[in-house]
């Protein structure tokens, strides 16, 4: 957190903005009037080593806040999805299509995660869906405290669906629980069938796998069954949806699953 203004954004840290909001100029002056002198003449230190037993999980802070998020979502009956994939697999397009088709029946809220720009939030905002953009700066994944702060700003109503679109990255987001109800990994047909074993952690930690861009299959040399078998080898409990966000093919099954989980 920024020690000067307390806004939670250090220079390369995450910013959390609604579409239209401007990030405030984040330059603070630092003075270095204090001059330090170090002398090391006395080489004979009296070393008394003390061992501190820690036994702490490195991701514990993230897990504690994720559990807090999860409790909040459960209490308000918010069905929260963490959408993960490599960049360009069509997360935002699937989201746009889903929101356009279902927002009349289901109240949606969206948290967008990207390193830079409000572009994705603006795409969602154009559909009149409440949205917050988290810009992680140099960060390569969302963490539970970012979601915690974004949720506070989003003011989510009970009995709704929260879509959290993670930073496009098949590596890091797998380790960071956000408190979601289900994790959805998206892979597109242009990515190659061995992605699930190249990046096994993401497929291991996901509940749902959406295979996008199936409209391109006639032009590609990919065996979708082989892709699914690789994914099932990593995680035998994965449930698949084969869709095209462009043509709408296969989206109905995904919608039915969403609706079924809202009850």
């Amino acid at each position: 957190m920024c020690g000067t203004c307390g806004c939670g954004t250090d220079d390369n840290g995450p910013t959390i903005l609604k579409p239209g909001e401007q990030p405030h100029n984040h330059v603070h002056e630092h003075t270095h009037d204090g001059i330090h002198f170090h002398s090391h003449e006395d080489a004979e230190h009296n070393h008394q080593h003390k061992v501190l037993k820690i036994e702490q999980d490195i991701l514990q802070n993230n897990q504690v806040l994720a559990a807090r998020n999860r409790g909040y979502f459960e209490a308000k009956n918010i069905f929260a999805l963490n959408l993960v994939s490599s960049p360009g697999s069509g997360k935002t397009s699937i989201l746009e299509k889903t929101l356009a088709d279902l927002s009349a029946e289901i109240p949606f809220y969206v948290i967008e995660g990207d390193q830079q720009t409000l572009n994705d939030a603006n795409r969602i905002d154009a559909l009149k869906i409440p949205v917050i953009q988290i810009n992680t700066g140099k960060g390569c994944h969302l963490e539970s405290d970012m979601v915690y702060n974004a949720v506070k700003k989003l003011n989510i109503k009970d009995n709704s669906v929260l879509m959290i679109e993670n930073v496009g990255n098949l590596v890091c987001p797998s380790m960071f629980d956000l408190g979601e109800s289900k994790r959805v990994v998206i892979i597109s047909t242009t990515e190659g069938e061995d992605k699930p074993i190249k990046y096994p952690d993401m497929f291991h930690t996901s509940d749902i796998c959406i295979i996008n861009k199936i409209d391109l299959l006639p032009y590609l040399n990919i065996d979708v069954e082989k892709l699914k078998n690789y994914a099932l080898k990593v995680n035998p409990n994965l449930q698949f949806f084969e869709v095209s966000a462009t043509t709408g093919e296969g989206m109905e099954a995904w919608y039915n699953w969403l609706k079924k989980n809202l009850i």
Binding site: H45, H47, Q48, H49, K50, V51, L52, K53, I54, E55, Q56, D57, I58, L59, Q60, N61, K138, G139, C140, H141, N169, V171, C172, S174, M175, P196, I197, P200, D201, H204, Y230, L232, K233, V234, P236
Partner: protein
Amino acid sequence: MVYSFLLLKIMHELSIAMGIVKIAEDETAKVKENTVTKIELEIGQLAGIEIDSLNFVWESAVKDSVLEKAIKEITIIPGKAKCADCDTVFYLENIYDSCPKCNSNFKGILQGKELRVKALEVI
């Protein structure tokens, strides 16, 4: 492409290293110490962390922190699972390795996902 992936991979270990620094800073502050001489870590083989990448980012991550002068001691915990179909307990290198006896993919991970700061030695 290779470079950008490398950067991504290092970013991953960097965020883990920063988490380690945070724990060390918090724990030493509790006992009013400011130099760690040794840190003991436990990292599971299935935790998704490359030790080489962690070593690569370590120096820049611990700079100006209580860990700057600390020796890093890593215990690797091998991956171990129990087959959900035939109960065979087996070691695995990859999270997707199937049961060596019945070839099933259904298994419970027993160990190997650890990512833990075990102990700090302070002056």
